[in-house]
């Protein structure tokens, strides 16, 4: 897994420590990201106040020991909102990436493997999707589907699947001409199992890289949708929605927008750094370089 530079170290924890020393920045971001994931997992068990509970008696309080990140215009605890929002954001990001891959991979596989008019048909459809500006299509689709987090997830996934379809198609085209595919045909393997067992697994790695890079971007896109009212609807606690609801007050009460915004920024940032770092350490061409 890790660079061969450390292969002299026998146990994997020792190797991990050595790797971390060289990639201190990636390690820090990984720690930060793990904390966010942990917060998301443990949110209901931390004894935090209900993030959706409206209490006007405590509205717009400054950050204090009672309310670490302060409260918003409706008296909701922002710290609790940020922690609970992590659940939603991470889940939605996973949902987007999985859904986009689940639509894109079969289409790309069929296109690349079958070729001919099937290929042309699917790829022209993809082209239509890719012809829209990046955020316009999710906005249009969510407007059609109606607000709600699930609809927003679907909207983003539907507008992203062509990327996955294209990536997998291009690697299927390469893998299809590999000798082991031909040799599988020569011993009578049926076309379905050639596609599923020989072509698909060998074409998957670029999509995995793309999916992990998209993870951060998916958080950002759904938060943007929520911000403009196309995504999560109250009482769901979502980072983009939290930023949106602070619009009218954040000039005076900075904490209402800053903490949810910071949560979005840090999560996306950590996710991208970690994915980049892991990808680099798995890439044989970059191994052994500082």
């Amino acid at each position: 897994m890790l660079s061969p530079t450390f292969s002299h170290l026998s146990s994997w924890p020792a190797r991990y420590v050595a790797w971390s020393r060289r990639n201190i920045f990636v390690t820090m971001c990984a720690t930060g990201f793990s904390l966010i994931v942990l917060a998301a997992l443990l949110a209901p068990f931390l004894g935090l106040p209900d993030p959706a509970k409206i209490d006007f008696s405590v509205k717009l309080l400054r950050p204090s020991s009672m309310h670490w990140f302060g409260t918003d215009a409706l008296g909701r605890d922002i710290f609790s909102g940020v922690v609970h929002g992590a659940r939603i954001s991470l889940l939605v990001a996973l949902g987007v990436v999985f859904m986009a891959a689940a639509i894109g991979i079969p289409i790309g596989l069929i296109s690349g493997y079958a070729g001919g008019w099937i290929d042309t048909f699917f790829m022209r459809i993809s082209d239509i999707f890719l012809a829209f500006p990046p955020l316009l299509l999710p906005i249009t689709l969510s407007a059609l589907l109606g607000p709600g987090l699930f609809n927003a997830t679907c909207a983003v996934a539907i507008s992203w699947f062509p990327w996955y379809a294209r990536i997998i198609r291009s690697s299927v085209l390469t893998v299809k001409s590999e000798l082991y595919v031909q040799s599988a045909r020569a011993i009578g393997t049926n076309p379905f199992s050639i596609a599923m067992r020989h072509v698909l697994p060998n074409s998957l790695s670029p999509v995995v890289v793309q999916a992990s890079l998209d993870f951060g971007f998916a958080i950002l896109t759904t938060a943007s949708l929520s911000f403009i009212g196309m995504g999560a609807v109250p009482p769901t606690v979502e980072w983009g929605l939290m930023v949106a609801s602070s619009r009218s007050v954040f000039l005076e009460y900075w904490w209402t927008a800053m903490f949810p915004g910071l949560a979005i920024f840090l999560t996306v940032f950590f996710a991208n750094v970690v994915v980049d770092g892991v990808r680099d350490s798995l890439d044989p061409k970059l191994r052994g370089q500082p």
Partner: protein, 325 residues
């Protein structure tokens, strides 16, 4: 019904400009059971394409005509489902480069089981037994079942590939340069393995450009030049009474161990591109014996003695112009 693999007048054509150009033209071969037929020829002579045609695996741009029959079953023009059933079960192929011919993601066993269970209705343990038996026959142990391709050496991989090809007990095995990527000691063992498979009843088409390999294991030999068979016959006949000038050129161009220092005779010129092949005999531009008649029409494929055919107007060792039919 002819037993074994019978190739009759096989022609493989590709679109070229307004017309078509034949990469393989007039290929006649017969591989009988219990027999190894060595198919020799230079790079680009159409050997591998012929092999692919035997499995119906030619590229879609290729137009196939003629006939390829496996124990009577026609391959040319058969539908994909028929071919999938025939491949592996009746006729199988092993490829030149074992390092890239196995899927890196699955163990050898996994890849073998898939094929075995597709051709026979066996449960997992029975199929595993079959796979283990095939591996053993190919000279590997059962432990290879759980190995990934990257954990094995080139020779082991070639054996694994042979095991995979023979796991469904095909009647015909096509080996496309099976030893080219291997060193000589491993090569000798693989050839021994092919010989023993033939002795057990399989018909083997061994494609190679190494005359030494052919001399070592083949029963019969066919020489291919620019898409057609120019000479074929019993191994001893072809090697001792070589009739086609091209075959003779090939033999003079190969070094012989223990014959002392001698200058190897190269055949002058290069193989003509199949898109611009001269009319008449394709070899005539490089041939020392060529006369006007060689440029006129297709050269007939004639039998010069029992089980020895040659495609030449002036076969060596015969009086000039004599054509025996």
């Amino acid at each position: 019904m002819t037993q074994g693999l019978a190739i009759d007048n096989l022609a493989l054509e590709f679109a070229h400009g307004r017309g078509r150009a034949a990469a393989v033209n007039g290929c006649n071969l017969l591989v009988r059971p219990r027999e190894i037929l060595g198919l020799v020829g230079e790079s680009g002579s159409g050997k591998s394409l012929t092999a692919l045609a035997c499995l119906g695996l030619t590229p879609s741009s290729c137009r196939v005509s003629g006939s390829v029959r496996v124990n009577g079953d026609e391959i040319v023009g058969a539908c994909e489902a028929t071919l999938t059933n025939l491949r592996g079960r009746r006729i199988a192929m092993i490829f030149q480069n074992p390092m890239t011919a196995l899927n890196p993601y699955f163990t050898i066993g996994n890849q073998m089981l898939g094929v075995i269970r597709q051709h026979f209705s066996l449960d997992r343990s029975q199929a595993t037994q079959e796979a283990a038996a095939a591996l053993k026959q190919a000279g590997l142990t059962e432990t290879a079942l759980n190995r990934y391709p990257h954990q094995m050496s080139g020779g082991q991989l070639q054996r694994a590939m042979i095991a995979m090809a023979i796991a469904c007990k095909p009647e015909i095995l096509i080996a496309d340069e099976p030893t080219t990527a291997l060193d000589v000691t491993v090569q000798a063992r693989i050839l021994g393995l092919l010989r023993s498979l033939a002795d057990q009843g399989m018909g083997i088409l061994l494609i190679t450009h190494d005359l030494g390999v052919v001399a070592q294991v083949a029963d019969r030999v066919a020489v291919m030049y620019s898409g057609s068979i120019v000479e074929s016959g019993d191994l001893n006949q072809v090697f001792s009474a070589t009739a086609h000038p091209y075959s003779l050129g090939l033999m003079q161009a190969s070094p012989v161990m223990g014959m002392g220092r001698r200058k190897l005779q190269a055949i002058s010129g290069v193989v003509p591109d199949f898109r611009s092949r001269p009319a008449g005999c394709a070899f005539r531009d490089r041939c020392t014996q060529a006369q006007e008649v060689c440029a006129l029409g297709a050269t007939p494929y004639t039998e010069i003695s029992a089980d020895h055919q040659v495609r030449c107007h002036f076969p060596i060792g015969k009086s000039q112009g004599a054509e025996l039919t």
